[in-house]
Subunit: 255 residues, 2 copies
């Protein structure tokens, strides 16, 4: 029984971490491919409440991709658009399956540290996801990822806060790379299971002003054996302006 | 006279921003190429004290690339190694020119915002450089960049803090991209003047544990007209382990 609970916990961790869109090394790498498959189906039947109750750090982990007061009207408008395309309850109480699904996003991953040299003691207690490491709402990465399983693509709405500055008044190239890696990694992990980023290739087409709300469109290009190729482009919300284009190649990973 | 001061201030801003290693859009883009050339030579004769006195936000801007208590012995050892190769005062009081120079690093750039939609009011007062936006020492990016003008290369010593997490216990791929963009951009800007990043291509070879101290070696590959090509590799401090390889292409930029 304990083993079953532990296994279930581990599995949910994996799903939750995946939902975070963690990349670099994908958190999904912590799960075997079989476990991932098993959970991807079993999670369909688990309600958000039961997922939360299994969260090891708190009974109610906060989903940071929920609207907050820092969101601009533009950000909220896009969010509302995609939320309306997600699962909904019909008048007769039945669940209607929409084409999109919103991924939750937490600020911590599993209590797991294989490494860490100087800061190893801190890691256990204080480590936080890079994109969710600042408490002040709106200061850094405000984002939410919607995934469309059938079309093998996802869309992220991203509002760039004032602490992401590179050139004065503009978003740091590294911050753009970070949100791209997060989004493309989420999609690759969703489609291929445990993965890690092997290559990230970014073309910066136009400077992005701080405070911008942009769309990050990510789609599957192809899967070749253990490699998953993802394309990505960053545009204004009306898609008239192209800020960035990128490709990401990931590789399957199993412990 | 006022115009002269303003021009001088603007120039120093440019140099200071450049020293920050800002990228994405390089802060140097704010200076004309001629101004940049003029200042690169004139700055040779300006002492740090006089630079500080011209800083518009405070009389003593803090250089974040100075040693602090969060630095591991490994980080400090590499720092001391390169500091010893920088300019030194000899016994007779004369300045001896070393092959390396340490670049200072601040957490703010010029009070300048061309853009910013939702957060435009915040940008003026609260914007901070992405790599220096967390006050807690050791929590995110601890780094210092040394540049070797003659050899057209630079070395960054980087200690990855616990708030840079991607996969559990490991550094987020976006954080690695950020420090690479910062370092390669510093070198490209140093060699070519006002630039902006056009392409960043990263191969992740091995996961980097949180708390690691690594070296980021960056060197000029070639300059073709307005394009500067930089290579980069991230290794352990003894250079026995390769974490990441990257190339960056920048383009000259003038307002």
């Amino acid at each position: 029984m304990l083993r079953h609970i532990a296994r279930r916990l581990g599995s949910l961790h994996g799903q939750i971490q995946f939902s975070n869109g963690l990349k670099g090394v994908s958190p999904n790498q912590l799960l075997s491919k079989e476990t991932h498959r098993h959970l991807q189906s079993s999670l369909e039947t688990i309600s958000p409440i039961s997922m939360m109750s299994l969260w090891p750090f708190s009974s109610q982990p906060r989903d940071f991709s929920q609207p907050n007061s820092s969101w601009s009207p533009e950000m909220r408008k896009v969010y509302d658009h995609y939320i309306a395309l997600c699962d909904t309850d019909s008048e007769n109480g039945e669940k209607q399956r929409g084409p999109w699904r919103k991924l939750p996003s937490y600020n911590r991953s599993i209590k797991y540290a294989t490494a860490g040299i100087h800061l190893s003691k801190l890691i256990q207690a204080k480590a936080r996801l890079f994109t969710r490491n600042v408490k002040e709402q709106g200061a850094t990465f405000e984002y939410v990822v919607f995934v469309n399983k059938e079309e093998k693509r996802c869309v992220c709405v991203f509002q760039a806060g004032h602490l992401l500055e590179g050139a004065p008044g503009h978003v740091h190239g590294g911050a753009i790379a970070t949100i791209i890696d997060t989004v493309t990694g989420s999609l690759a992990g969703f489609l291929s299971g445990p993965i890690m980023t092997a290559n990230l290739n970014i073309d910066y087409r136009s400077p992005m002003p701080l405070g911008s709300v942009v769309l990050i469109h990510s789609a599957l290009d192809r899967i070749e054996r253990k490699k998953t190729y993802i394309t990505c482009k960053v545009t204004s919300t009306d898609e008239s302006k192209l800020y960035t284009e990128a490709t990401e190649q990931t590789e399957q990973f199993c412990y």
